[in-house]
């Protein structure tokens, strides 16, 4: 067995734990220390991937041939869609945006519905937020609203909540949602999804001191949030409507006039940042007219696919395709799809062109934004011959420039 590799960073969820140690035997990762269940599932069994082959219509070919075929598909397409980028690093996002711009394509990062809604709510009313470091050092009340951290972010409690912070000795953990999370919660408020807006709205009225008829648990929660020194509200998939999140962010703002409160999305890495600083818009950006146009609804991958408004799709990673609706996934099967993906990623889709690419943090180094927006470097574990997705996208862009003039 070879020497353990320390300080491996894991991008299996939005937390990006950097304290993982892996052991490699016979070219494969066989063990991961300090790893949560999601991290172990992502890392164990991974290899340098040098044997992965590109394919055209399922038949193995060279990467150059696959890239040439991808260029042919995209050059002919009148309305291409670039989707995916879940788990991608900054370099890949830059390359995907440059390609979308040159092609006049629509670029839509594979974000879950609540993350998209949160971005729209932030654009409408703003957000008072914080980093995970502040949660650890200062938060005395932590609320999980419409999310289950132990299922999606297994290391969150261990790294940030179960340890005492610099300014806080213990903390109260609350949960709000349709189902009680499996792990320990000090207090649980069971509200069905359709009641969330009404509840948040009532809380806003209570915090503002207005008279409103409400249940005792809402009154109790309002008092608890007002009496906290620093409360942090993590929100997740059950709050997937823009009005709910706008109301939540406004509630957080109201609380800040009396105490300190912050909201933080419990999602994956922030894959919208590069697109935002380059095009001005975070997702669902269309470049067809030669300049970026934003359509959170009408340029979303779901809408375009469901309405047959695209005729080819470049998938940068199959991770995140579960966020597409059933109708959109069905349409995907009918279209020419180019897939850049790691060979170990299971994918039921049968793409016309498949090109194996390196995974940042395993086969190549890369920088990603943690769920709270902190940029972190993922070092490579293997010395791999796999091309990075950024390299493949740049090669496709060069080819598109040549063939389209």
């Amino acid at each position: 067995m070879s020497e353990p590799i320390n300080n491996v960073a894991c991008a299996a969820c939005g937390l990006i734990c950097e304290n993982i140690t892996v052991r490699v035997d016979n070219g494969k990762i066989i063990a991961a220390e300090n790893a949560c269940s999601k991290c172990a599932a992502k890392l164990i069994g991974q290899s340098a991937g040098n044997t992965a082959k590109a394919t055209i219509s399922g038949k193995p070919c060279s990467v150059d041939e696959a890239v040439a075929q991808a260029i042919a598909i995209l050059a002919e397409s009148r309305s291409p869609l670039i989707y995916g980028l879940a788990g991608s690093d900054i370099a890949t996002q830059r390359a995907a945006i440059a390609l979308a711009d040159r092609l006049g394509a629509t670029l839509d990062p594979a974000l879950p519905a609540f993350h998209r809604a949160a971005i729209q709510a932030i654009q409408a009313v703003g957000i008072s937020t914080c980093t995970l470091g502040e949660v650890k050092q200062r938060a005395d009340v932590v609320v999980f609203w419409g999310c289950d951290p132990d299922a999606t972010h297994p290391a969150l409690r261990e790294r940030f909540l179960d340890v005492p912070g610099e300014h806080v000795k213990s903390r109260q953990i609350l949960a709000i949602g349709s189902q009680r999370p499996a792990a320990h919660i000090d207090e649980f408020f069971q509200w069905p999804v359709e009641q969330q807006y009404t509840s948040i709205s009532t809380l806003r009225a209570l915090v503002a001191g207005r008279e409103v008829s409400c249940t005792p648990d809402l009154q109790a929660l309002a008092e608890l949030l007002k009496s906290a020194n620093y409360s942090v509200i993590f929100f997740g998939p059950e709050l997937s409507g823009v009005p709910e999140l706008e109301a939540l962010f406004q509630l957080v703002r109201q609380l800040n006039s009396q105490t300190r409160c912050a909201a933080l999305g419990l999602g994956g890495t922030q894959i919208e940042n590069v697109l935002t600083w380059q095009s001005g818009y975070p997702f669902a950006v269309n470049f067809a007219l030669g300049y970026p146009r934003y359509g959170p609804h009408t340029f979303s991958a779901n809408y375009l696919l469901e309405h047959g408004q695209v005729d080819s799709v470049l998938l940068v990673g199959s991770e995140g395709s579960e966020h597409l609706s059933a109708a959109a996934q069905k349409q995907l099967e009918k279209l020419p799809v180019i897939l850049l993906d790691n060979a170990s990623q299971k994918c039921e889709l049968k793409p016309v062109v498949k090109i194996p690419t390196a995974v940042p943090g395993i086969h190549c180094a890369g920088t990603v934004f943690r769920m709270d927006g902190v940029p972190l470097r993922l070092p490579a574990i293997f010395d791999s011959e796999l091309l990075s997705a950024a390299d493949v996208l740049s090669a496709i862009q060069q080819g598109v420039l040549t063939s389209c003039g």
Partner: protein, 270 residues
């Protein structure tokens, strides 16, 4: 009248915001045929997609065909009339200043969004955000009138600032969301969260509504004179006002108390 008939059906996006009655008025048919429009990412002469006939000098344009994938018909138009015989797609009348748009089929997303004046009539249905605001905008429609005979989706009149919206059928959730002023008249059933976060403005319901938000409170039962004026305005513009007898008494609710609380929802007494 200038007639533009779609030659063959397309599901790829068609950008039609450049085709305006006033800008085409002085052009010959040949020049109109050579105007460029976007079909997906391709820039094509209009004649490749539409058969161009008639005369544009009277500032009237008729689109014929299923334009469900079109975007921006009559966007920012400043006068004249556009008639769509068929479906009309997204952003119909986006930010229009004046003039008239008639759609015989359905319209899709953001019908009359941020319009400043003029009239839009849709014989079929429309989807979300009728008369609403584009994301990031502070206000939705600031004037004019939108009539939809069928049903509409969520967020009708979202962030609306002034003007009139009348819906013959049902509406989805969040009617009048964050409304600033203006009037929305709803004949059919209204989904949940009506008037959420409204500042001012009027929602006039033809049918009783369920689950009014707790941040709305009962104000009074009355026979407001303004409803008679709205009903007269509606019938003068050809909208069926059978369910809106202003002589009846209406229950008035005020809200949303998380905002200024000066919005009003009128519901039937029964």
């Amino acid at each position: 009248m200038l007639s533009l008939a779609l030659l063959s059906r397309t599901t790829l996006p068609l950008e039609l915001s450049e085709i305006q009655p006033d800008t085409l008025r002085e052009l010959s048919l040949r020049e109109i045929e050579q105007l460029f429009i976007y079909h997906g990412r391709e820039k094509l002469p209009l004649a490749e997609l539409f058969s161009v006939n008639g005369n544009p000098s009277d500032e009237q344009i008729e689109f014929v065909g299923d334009l469900s994938s079109a975007s921006g018909i009559g966007a920012e138009m400043t006068g004249g009339k556009i008639r769509v015989v068929g479906n009309a797609g997204n952003y119909v009348g986006l930010g229009m200043f004046s003039g008239e748009i008639e759609v015989t089929g359905d319209a899709s997303y953001s019908l009359g969004s941020e319009m400043r004046g003029g009239v839009i009539r849709v014989a079929g249905s429309a989807s979300d955000c009728v008369g609403g605001a584009q994301l990031g905008s502070v206000r939705g429609m600031t004037g004019g009138a939108i009539f939809v005979q069928g049903s509409v989706g969520d967020f009708v009149g979202a962030r609306m600032r002034r003007g009139l919206i009348a819906v013959g059928g049902d509406v989805g959730e969040y009617a009048g969301y964050k409304m600033l002023a203006g009037t929305v008249v709803i004949s059919g059933k209204c989904g949940s969260h009506a008037g959420a976060s409204m500042n001012r403005g009027t929602l006039w319901m033809g049918q009783a509504i369920k689950n009014l938000l707790p941040t709305f409170s009962y104000a009074c039962t009355s026979r407001p004179a303004v409803l008679g004026m709205i009903a007269r305005e509606l019938s003068s513009l050809g909208f069926d006002t059978a369910g809106f007898d202003a002589l009846h008494e209406w229950r008035q609710y005020s809200g949303d108390s998380t905002m200024t609380g000066r919005g009003e929802i009128f519901v039937p007494l029964t």
